[in-house]
């Protein structure tokens, strides 16, 4: 019976047709961010650490002006320059975290999904254990115990994404390893390695990849949270850190809201773009909801 009882059926049809303007808008924003992150040192920016003290203006923070587009912070440092540099760590951590997560989690997930048996049981339990900490709690725990470098922070956040990613990979693999072509391949006695690489990976990879963006959004936010609590990369300029710097004392926030609001804006737009683009991709590939 081809009667759509509500029109939403038709609506999703449309959604699946094209990615839409919003998607490309987000992608271009992300592109811009990545560009900035990559080439910050080469860009004609003021030094993010220099103190542009200007006695004529009295004591910093100075409000936004032609000289300082985003104003300066309490230490007369250029908020614009700092925000741009902030993109660097935030995105690097976000990206490498999710990459690590996908590599490790993905592998484990596929393995346990394909071979089942004890691998599956063990990994599943490990996942559950990892998932029974609120991720931020776990992150705080780990970062507090280590030297907080770009690498380690990324690794910690990567670790956090292992369990959710792994679960997904497993689910997807399970689904595919029951398919005829896989069974057939097994029938004719193909090597497991061959099957996984040739048959399963390609099929699992597509849906997973559409989730990478969403995952990265989560990682970026997590990094921000850590930085905000003073637990992200030491000596690094990060959006979370900038926001905290401007909001730590309510007086500062009152007198100089720009210090934290510009970084907030950048962070917000970036996360929004990641989410939106990721969500579009997901509907595009028609992958079911994932909770990182």
């Amino acid at each position: 019976m081809n009667t759509p009882n509500t029109n939403s059926g038709a609506e999703t049809e449309v959604a699946r047709k094209k990615l839409g303007f919003g998607f490309w808008l987000c992608v271009s924003w992300l592109g811009a961010m990545v560009f900035i992150a990559l080439f910050t040192p080469l860009l004609p920016l003021k030094s993010p650490t220099a103190n542009f003290l200007d006695p004529s203006q009295g004591r910093p923070p100075y409000s936004p002006s032609w000289k300082h587009w985003f104003g300066t912070d309490k230490d007369a440092r250029d908020v614009f320059a700092r925000t741009m540099h902030g993109a660097r760590i935030s995105l690097t951590v976000g990206f490498s975290a999710i990459t690590a997560g996908f590599l490790v989690g993905g592998t484990i997930g596929v393995m346990s999904g394909y071979f089942r048996s004890w691998i599956d049981r063990v990994s599943s339990f490990v996942f559950v254990v990892l998932l029974s900490f609120p991720s931020l709690v776990l992150a705080i725990l780990l970062t507090s115990l280590i030297e907080r470098s770009l690498l380690t922070v990324s690794l910690v956040l990567g670790l956090l994404s292992i369990a959710p990613v792994g679960r997904l990979a497993r689910a997807a693999t399970l689904q595919y390893s029951e398919r005829e072509f896989v069974l057939a391949a097994r029938q004719i006695g193909a090597k497991d390695r061959h099957i996984i690489v040739k048959e399963i990976l390609p099929n699992v990879a597509i849906p997973m990849s559409s989730l990478a963006l969403l995952g990265m959004a989560v990682a970026v936010v997590a990094e921000g949270g850590l930085a905000f609590l003073g637990l992200s990369v030491e000596k690094g300029i990060t959006w979370g850190g900038l926001i905290q710097l401007g909001s730590d004392a309510s007086k500062t926030l009152e007198k100089a809201p720009w210090i934290s609001f510009f970084p907030i804006l950048m962070l917000f737009l970036t996360v929004l773009s990641l989410n939106f683009a990721g969500d579009r991709l997901r509907t595009f590939f028609d992958v079911k909801e994932m909770t990182l």
Binding site: N5, T6, N7, S8, G9, E11, F125, V128, V129, S132, F133, P134, S135, L136, V137, I140, L141, L142, S144, L145, A217, V221, G224, G225, F228, L229, G240, I243, Q244, G246, S247, S250, L253, E254, P257, S260, F261, I264, L267, F268, V271, L272, N275, F276, D279, E289, T291
Partner: protein, 318 residues
């Protein structure tokens, strides 16, 4: 029945694993002695200091091998004795700290959850019934915005707008204020945690309601001549709540995570902010206790969620 027993058993197994992990990590990676003794801890050439070190080690049973200490800790923990804080006096006992601060966090998370649900259900109902219309698309966009706003940023914004600019809300939490005003002081922190979650809930519930609205029994309800509202509330909502409830349950963990940030921004001495402080002070017993409490809460809530099904879906009753 057997099903319940299994779930509970798994939960316990889980908590054991979690506790071992945390306990191990904390003890292998940090030297608590300093918190107890100050510089003396490092002054290993001075006999007096060494004497004190030995004493402290015994007092906090740091001289025993790790497994033994774990066993000791566990047996105390289950008896509700969370040990002593690593301070020169071991005062106040961890259970003291917890019992003082946990209620605040619980209240906060409860309020947040309450707000989230309060907002999301009507929101979902309305948008679902208008699926595809402009209003629906706009609200979907709003939901996106909320979800994309990290809670620490949201906290800053809320603080700026409502406390600083408008002055409607107090800036600080005062532990000694009467309950009523403390609850009032908790509204912004709770919103900080609740709003983004509300958006998540709404998106989920909306899709489920739309699916439900396509069911035959909704059509039947229409043939009875029931009003749209009644169909939504009486027929569509309840059957759509299953995944909603799961997610609400699972999210409690995220909420606790959020409360860490929120408590720090709004300076509420709950276990969230305490966790951060203790972690920085290497006050492991406190950290351990908090992590365990959080994890337990997490696991137990998930149990309850499973059991909650039987309440809303008569089909699951056995």
């Amino acid at each position: 029945m057997r099903y319940y027993v299994q779930r509970v058993a798994l939960a316990i197994l889980l908590l054991l694993a979690v506790s071992m992990l945390t306990f191990g990590a904390l003890n292998v990676l940090g030297d608590p002695l300093f918190n107890i003794l100050g510089p003396v801890a490092g002054d290993v050439n001075n006999p007096d200091s060494v004497k004190m070190i030995e004493l402290a080690k015994r007092e906090f049973s740091l001289d025993r091998p790790l497994p033994v200490r774990y066993a000791i800790w566990l047996s105390d923990f289950v008896r509700g004795d969370f040990g002593v804080t690593f301070s020169s006096t071991g005062q106040p006992p961890v259970s003291g700290v917890i019992s003082e601060r946990l209620p605040r966090t619980v209240t906060l998370v409860a309020m947040a959850q309450f707000f989230a649900i309060l907002v999301s259900i009507p929101w979902a109902l309305i948008t679902a019934s208008r699926a595809g219309k402009i209003s629906d698309r706009i609200s979907t966009l709003n939901a996106f915005f909320l979800v994309a706003m990290p809670n620490f940023a949201l906290a800053v914004i809320l603080k700026f707008v409502f406390s600083i600019k408008l002055g409607w809300m107090p800036l600080t939490f005062v532990a000694d204020d009467p309950l009523s005003s403390r609850l009032f002081q908790m509204i912004l922190p709770a919103l900080t945690i609740g709003l983004p979650v509300a958006a998540v809930y709404q998106r989920l519930l909306r899709t489920d309601i739309i699916t439900t609205l396509q069911q035959d029994f909704i059509l039947l309800a229409r043939t009875k001549g029931l009003s749209r509202t009644r169909i939504l509330l009486v027929h569509a909502l309840r059957p759509s709540l299953f995944s909603f409830i799961t997610v609400v349950g699972l999210n409690t963990g995220a909420l606790i995570g959020g409360s860490i940030v929120s408590e720090t921004v709004f300076r509420i001495p709950g276990i969230g902010s305490t966790l951060v402080e203790s972690v920085l002070r290497n006050d492991f017993p406190v950290v351990l206790a908090i992590v365990m409490i959080v994890a337990s809460a997490f696991v137990i809530i998930n149990l309850l969620v499973d059991f909650a099904y039987t309440l809303i879906d008569p089909r699951v009753r056995r």
